[in-house]
């Protein structure tokens, strides 16, 4: 039997199919990991989702209202403690926030160091001066955003997405909105898998490099197919809903049950938020 020719060179740049496949599998792995974390045993995982939504919302409000750097830093420590008590890997939790922060908030905070008027703190070459007020403003922004993002991530990592959505009903979010969000979440994964399969089948038939024009054509064709598939799917799903009695006004129900420890922790979180607002006023 003829053997396959030896690999003569390794391609340095991955083509668009390979990149898309890598991104898709990364997204799917991430969601699987988040779901596993939400099912682990831990403090926040054991609480009623409504308590978590309200408690974390109270802490988020406290972060926004507080005018003291020390108090916001204190709330960040609270977020870290909650993550630790909920068995979330600390390295992952911290990195997830701080690695992305410079790209988004950092870009906005950077000019504040230099353009905010105030007493000079550090003199830099080229006549640039970091002012005390500028440093304070930028630090406020960075700390506020990182603490808020950490708290939001905490909620999502410790609660199955379905629980988060249903808990929104305590905030008087309409049932129809919750139903639509739930279905969107459910079908994103189906379309993700479909896209993955489409790209895999494409990859198995590609030899060598594709030209940029071919890549563009292929992506446009994939997007078109996906759109027509999702249109067909949506009309079929609507029929399936009608078949089981849906008449335009969805009725949903949660199976949440408040236990004493839910009240206790809910109270503690709201109290911590109130204390932070008072201390940082």
């Amino acid at each position: 039997m003829d053997s396959l020719p030896k690999l003569t060179s390794t391609r340095k740049r991955r083509n668009v199919v390979e990149r898309t496949l890598a991104d898709l599998s990364h997204t799917m792995e991430q969601s699987l990991f988040a779901e596993e974390l939400a099912r682990q045993k831990g403090l926040l995982q054991s609480l009623d989702p409504r308590v978590k939504v309200l408690g974390i919302l109270a802490l988020l409000l406290a972060v926004s209202l507080s005018r003291s750097l020390a108090v916001i830093a204190g709330l960040y420590v609270v977020a870290l403690l909650l993550a630790w008590a909920s068995s979330i890997p600390m390295g992952f939790f911290i990195k997830r926030v701080w690695l992305l922060l410079p790209f988004f908030t950092g870009m906005i905070a950077l000019p504040a160091f230099f353009i905010t008027p105030g007493p000079p703190l550090v003199q830099l070459p080229l006549g640039l001066v970091i002012t005390r007020t500028g440093a304070q403003t930028a630090l406020f922004l960075l700390l506020r955003v990182s603490t808020s993002v950490s708290l939001a991530i905490l909620l999502v990592l410790t609660t199955p997405w379905n629980g988060v959505l249903k808990a929104l009903s305590v905030l008087r979010v309409p049932d129809a909105f919750i139903l639509i969000l739930g279905m969107t979440y459910r079908y994103i994964y189906l379309l993700l898998h479909t896209t993955n399969d489409m790209f895999l089948s494409r990859q198995s038939r590609i030899i060598g490099r594709m030209s940029t024009a071919d890549e563009r054509r292929m992506i446009a064709a994939t997007a078109g197919t996906l759109l027509s598939k999702s249109l067909h799917l949506s009309s079929e799903v609507y029929l399936a809903m009608q078949s089981r009695g849906f008449r335009g006004h969805p009725r949903t129900m949660d199976t949440f049950r408040m236990r004493p420890r839910d009240w206790l922790w809910g109270g503690a979180l709201v109290l911590a938020a109130a204390l932070a607002v008072w201390l940082g006023r």
Binding site: P160, N162, Y185, L190, A240, G245, M253, T255
Partner: protein, 275 residues
């Protein structure tokens, strides 16, 4: 008026928008408690028929009656009629990804009882009974997109079972199932028939027909009802099965030897596969 009739179709035709015909002048009566298999190759109109029977599509010509009342778009505008019909008839879609649209198994099974405005305790009790009947209690908080094909099919059945319909419509229920799940599904259909429910199953899996049906209707590729009889009559009529594209002549291995001549036969019962 025949009181034990569940469905009565008189010269029913259906065409999709754009004029593509799916059923052509079909007349058919289904009695209460009857187990009917609808056979036909892909595109012969089986799925369309089930959607017409479930009041999801409406005949472009002819008349469909269910429990004595005509199934029309106007009839379904009437809330009490819609409500009463949906409680009595349940459709299991071929594609479980269509059937399972909720973010969790529990929500999926609770969907129908909730739309029927049942009390909280009643909904919970129906969901728990359906979970236990299909032995999927462990899946209750899982997301449908994380389930295997067999598990998805069980949840799809549970989502209709919680409604407690007296008529089951099943569209290609064995598609994509492994032999063990197929055998289990056949048992489920047999059980529904035994408890007096009407079960109409669209399939092209000839191996299960004798187990799940007392009567068989065959559709041809021209979307006509070409035969109606007992499973024995239909399955022994090779000319009919060849004409409706349900069997084909082929060559394959018998006891490790490839057959020399072209021949055809029916593959029966998933687990006891043999011929």
């Amino acid at each position: 008026m025949d009181n034990d009739l569940v469905f009565d179709l008189q010269n029913v035709s259906f065409a999709y928008e754009g004029g593509q015909a799916a059923l052509d002048s079909v007349s058919l009566k289904v009695k209460a408690g009857e187990r009917l298999a609808v056979l036909g190759s892909n595109g012969s109109g089986k799925s369309t028929l089930l959607k017409l029977l479930d009041g999801l599509y409406f005949a472009t010509a002819g008349e469909v009656r269910a429990f004595g009342a005509p199934l029309t778009e106007e009839a379904f505008q009437d809330e009490p009629f819609n409500f009463a019909f949906r409680r009595r008839v349940g459709l299991v879609f071929q594609d479980t990804d269509v059937q399972l649209f909720s973010p969790s198994v529990w929500d999926e099974i609770a969907f129908a009882p909730l739309q029927m405005e049942m009390a909280r305790e009643e909904v919970e009790s129906r969901v728990n009974t359906a979970l236990a009947a299909l032995r999927i209690e462990k899946l209750r908080d899982r997301a449908p997109h994380r389930l295997s094909g067999g598990e998805k099919r069980r949840v799809a059945l549970a989502s209709v079972l919680s409604l407690g319909p007296e008529v089951w419509l099943m569209d290609e229920p064995t598609t994509g199932l492994d032999p063990r799940s197929q055998a289990w599904l056949v048992d489920f259909i047999i059980e529904q028939g035994r408890t007096g429910k009407s079960v109409i199953t669209a399939t092209h899996d000839l191996g299960i027909v004798e187990l799940i049906a007392d009567r068989v209707c065959v559709f041809d590729e021209g979307h006509h009802l070409m035969a109606d009889g007992t499973p024995k009559e239909i399955l022994s009529d090779e000319t009919l099965l060849l004409a409706s594209n349900l069997i084909h002549e082929h060559r394959h291995a018998h006891e490790a030897e490839i057959a020399e001549h072209m021949h055809h036969h029916i593959h029966v019962v998933p687990q006891e596969h043999g011929h």
